[in-house]
Symmetry: C2
Subunit: 294 residues, 2 copies
Amino acid sequence: MERSVVLTGQHYLAEKRAVVDRLLDEYLPSEKSYPNILHEAIRYSVLAGGKRIRPILALTAYEVFGGENDDIINPAACSLELVHTYSLIHDDLPCMDDDDLRRGIPTLHKKYNEAVAVLAGDALHDLAFELIARSGSAEVVSELAQAIGTFGMLGGQMADIEAEGKENSIEQIEFIHKRKTGALIRACVRIGAILAGADKPTLNSISLYGEKIGLAFQIIDDILDIEGDEKKLGKIVGSDCKNDKATYPGTAGLEQARQVGNQLIDEAIEIAEQFNIKKNHFVDIARFIGQRDS
Amino acid sequence: MERSVVLTGQHYLAEKRAVVDRLLDEYLPSEKSYPNILHEAIRYSVLAGGKRIRPILALTAYEVFGGENDDIINPAACSLELVHTYSLIHDDLPCMDDDDLRRGIPTLHKKYNEAVAVLAGDALHDLAFELIARSGSAEVVSELAQAIGTFGMLGGQMADIEAEGKENSIEQIEFIHKRKTGALIRACVRIGAILAGADKPTLNSISLYGEKIGLAFQIIDDILDIEGDEKKLGKIVGSDCKNDKATYPGTAGLEQARQVGNQLIDEAIEIAEQFNIKKNHFVDIARFIGQRDS
C-alpha cells in the first residue's frame, strides 16, 4: 500500500494535541505551590512541547472503542505523557546519556541541577500513577506499571546502556527497542481500550497494532538521529553515534532501517483497517509516525 | 503514662518482620531474569534488612480493622517497603546526600554505579505501584501516590535540601519531617484501614495516630544520628551534622527533641487505646518506635 505524500489526519492530531496540552497544564501542580522549584521544573519539562503521541493514542483507543467519559480517560491519557517525560529526564542525566538539549531547550539538570532533575523525574513518575488512578481502574494502573517496569521500559533502558559500544544483532536491537519505546506505546492503546471496555479479541488486535507502531517509532527515531533536522527535532543529532548506542540503522544500515520502518507502518495500518469503525484515526496516527520528521 | 523498660510486643514485630521478609523475597523479580543486574541491585537493596515498620503498620491496620484477605493486603503492604527503599536509594545519590553506607553495606551507587542506582530506584518506585494495584483498589493507589508526591514525601525531600546550611525554626523542621517521613507512615495505616473497609471516624483516628508516630519516627532518627550506635544503625552517624541538615535536636537541642518524641509516642498510644479491639498492636508499634535504637 502506497502511503500518501501529504500527511493525512494532521487536523485530527493537531486538535488532540491542543486538548492534551490544555489538560496537562490543568493537571500539573501550580508553580506557586510549595515545593515551587520542583513544580516549576516539572512544568518546564512537560510543557516544553512534544508530539503528545502517547496520550493521543490512549484518547483515540478510548473513543474508537466506545468510551464516553472524559473524567475517566483524560487523566489516564495524560499520565502517559508524564511517564514519558520522567523517563526522558532521568535518561538525560550525566550518569545516563548526559544530554544537554531536549525539545529545543536545556535539559533539566542543565537548567537547574542534578538533584532537582532526579526529584522532578520521580515526581512525574509518581503523579502519573496519581492521575491514572483517577480512572478508578486498578487494572490499568497495573497495565502501566508493568509496561514501564523492569520487564518493559526500564529493562529496555538497562539493555540500551549495556549494549553501548558493542556489536549488536538485529534481534538484540529489537529486544531493546520493543522494551525501551514499544512497551509504553503498546500500553497507551491498551489502556484506552481497557477503559472503554473493549473485548479480548479487540484488545489482542490493538496490542499488535501498538507493538508495530512502537517498534517503527524507535527505528524512525534512530534514523532521525542520523539524518534529521536539529531545529525540527529540538535536540542535537548524532548523539547515538557519539555515545556508540545500539541503533537499527547502525546495525542494518539506513536503507534497511527505512524499509523495516515502512513495513511496520504498513502492517499496523492493515491491522487498524480491520476494525469496523467509522473514523479510523489509528490509520492516521500510524501514517503520522511513519512520516514524522520530529 | 510510663513506658515499660522492656520492649513490649517485640515478639509480634519479629513475627511480622519475618512474614514481610518472606513476601518481599517472593514478590521481587529473580536475579536470573533479564535485566539481571537491575534485579540483583533491587534485591541487594530491599533484602539488606530493615525494621519493615511500614508494611507492618499496613498489615496491622488491615487485621485490626477486620480485613481477612492476604491476597489483598500482602502486596499492598510490601509496596510500602519498596517505596521506602526507592526513596533511600535516590536520597543516597552523590547529587543528593552522597552517602556511602546504608543498612551496614555500601549504598547502591557505590556497589554498582550511579546509572544502576537511578534505574533501580525507578524500578522499585514502579514495582510498588504494580504491587499495590494487585489489591484491586484504585483508591489506595491514589492514597500512596499522593503521600509520596510533591505534596508529601518528595516535597519533604526538596524542603530538606533547601533547608541545608540555614537557620531553621521548629515549624520549618516539622514541615519537612511531616512530609519527608510522616506522609508515608500515615499512608501505611490508612491504606491498611481503607482496604479493611474502616469507616470514616476510624480512618480519621488512625490517620492522627500515623501522623504522631511518623513525626516521632523522624525526630528519633535525628537523635540517633547524634548519639546512636553505628553498628546497630548500619550507617555512619553524624551525617546530618556533616551535611548541615535541618534536624529537630539541631534546632531545639537533644533534651527537648527527646521530650517531644516521647510526648508524640504517648499521644499516639492514647489514640490507639481508644480503639475497641482485642490485641492492640498499634500500642506495641508506637512503643517500639519510641524505644528503637536502630
